[in-house]
Amino acid sequence: MLSEIWIRRLLGTAAMVSTAAAFCILLVLVTLALPLFTAGGLGTVLSWQWLPFQGKFGILPMVVGSLLLSLGALAAATPLAVGLACFAQVLAPGWIKSPCLAVVHYMTSIPTVIYGFVSVFVLVPLMRQWFDRGTGFSLLTAMIALTLLILPTIVLVFQATLREVDRTARATCAALGFSKPSYIRHALLPLSRRGLLAAVILGFGRAVGDTLISLMLAGNAPMVPGSPLDAIRTLTAHIALVVATDSQSTFYHSVFASGVILFLIMILINLALRRLGGSFAP
């Protein structure tokens, strides 16, 4: 019986570690970003110019860049995901349904760097040709690649809700004489709004957190874009660029501030998902 207690404690410790790790990471990041608040550095970081050699460490352009890119990708991916999920759940002929879902599952396992890599050699030249402006590394380019990256997350989370709703509503609606497309429009989608909202929030989290797509495709210019064809820099790419290029340690405050901002976004996302209730983990 003694061993029973010890096993319980051991397993409990593992669970504690898995839980506490997130809070420890937040603690470390906040501690390292702390000098900003005491030395009045907050104003220098929360400003609109990134000219580190002139002492201007503003990261607001990166915040805007992150938001624009994520929201843009989300705006493109959400309708696509809704169409795809409804197709897989209702419209697809029997033989195509499970391969279709298997492909979406498979998409989650494709490395991010592959999307970035292929886009550099396919999408970027195309963008350069079509729009005949700039280098082809732009907000729009990154948005297209990012759409493909977050699509499977949204589809899988949304489809889990659709499956549940479909199970309860299908027979009723068929008995009422709904055609399949009307059933989607008037019963299935309205009934699974919460699932869609959860899926969109999770997709947003995935989009904000992605580093490689924006680092490889968005051009990394630290400014607020005037058009979708301008280059942008995201918070994630900013962290990667500043840390990986052996910058001076005076630059690091802005990096830790970026890390804290990203972390806070994730906390908000998780709180929002909690409020929606249920379990929406993909």
Partner: protein, 296 residues
Amino acid sequence: MTAAQKRRLADAATVAFCWSAAAGTALAILAVMGFLIFRGAGTLGLELFFGQTHWWDAVTGARPVFDGLWSALAGTLILVVLSCLMAVPVGIAGGIYLSVYATERFRSVAGFGVDLMAGIPSIVMGLFGFSMIVVLRHAFFPHAKTCLLLAAVCIALLILPYLVRTTQNALSGLPEQLRLLGPSLGFTPWQNTRHVLLPSAGRGVLSGVILAMGRAAEDTAVILLTGVVAQAFLPRSLWDKFEALPFRIFYLAAEHRSAAELDLAFGTALVLLMLTGALFCLAFLIQRTMEQRWKN
């Protein structure tokens, strides 16, 4: 237009929209894979991995490989094994605790922590590893630098929440009568877990582990900040810099100097895609057999 006509039009639009969403996605994925296979397939071969070095010399580390991806592949494999050694025991144990032992309240709090952890962007995880080095350098070891061990720890943290969740879900997904079987025979919670639950849910747990391995192999942002370099050969110790497949792809996409290097990049991308694809298929098959076993 009559109401019936309007409805028929809307129906047709819905069908067209759903079909084109599905077809468009399939086309995009086919284009990505097709392009990689088209450009990369020709480079596959022993030379892609080992360059001009004899393969046996390369594998044993007797001679360095200059123009192949062996050291990147080895770096990734070592990284995956190391991080799984750290994360898998903790993750599975944590998942078991949450599913079998935990009170409802603790499960809810821990669930939030684990979900939050799963949401942390990998670059932030890398930044965490990097800041550990900054702290160490200031406080204890002035010579501390980013290295293989640090990267493995950060990757382990990255995959930990997935392991906890998949283990927890695999155990909680078992049929009710099976979960009550042990206690009804007078088993203690651990005996029940060890002899009834784990053997039944083993495949689910295993497929979770394999998926986590795939994530460990593909992640670039973490290692970008924790010690990966473009040219390092095989790491000689845990404190060494290392190479990795995803970083090499990222690096060569921007820095290729010749057509041969570009071919190498396409070959590397294809190898990584095959590696993660193989892990995915394995996990998928294992998961399917598990689901079939417990259907009804």
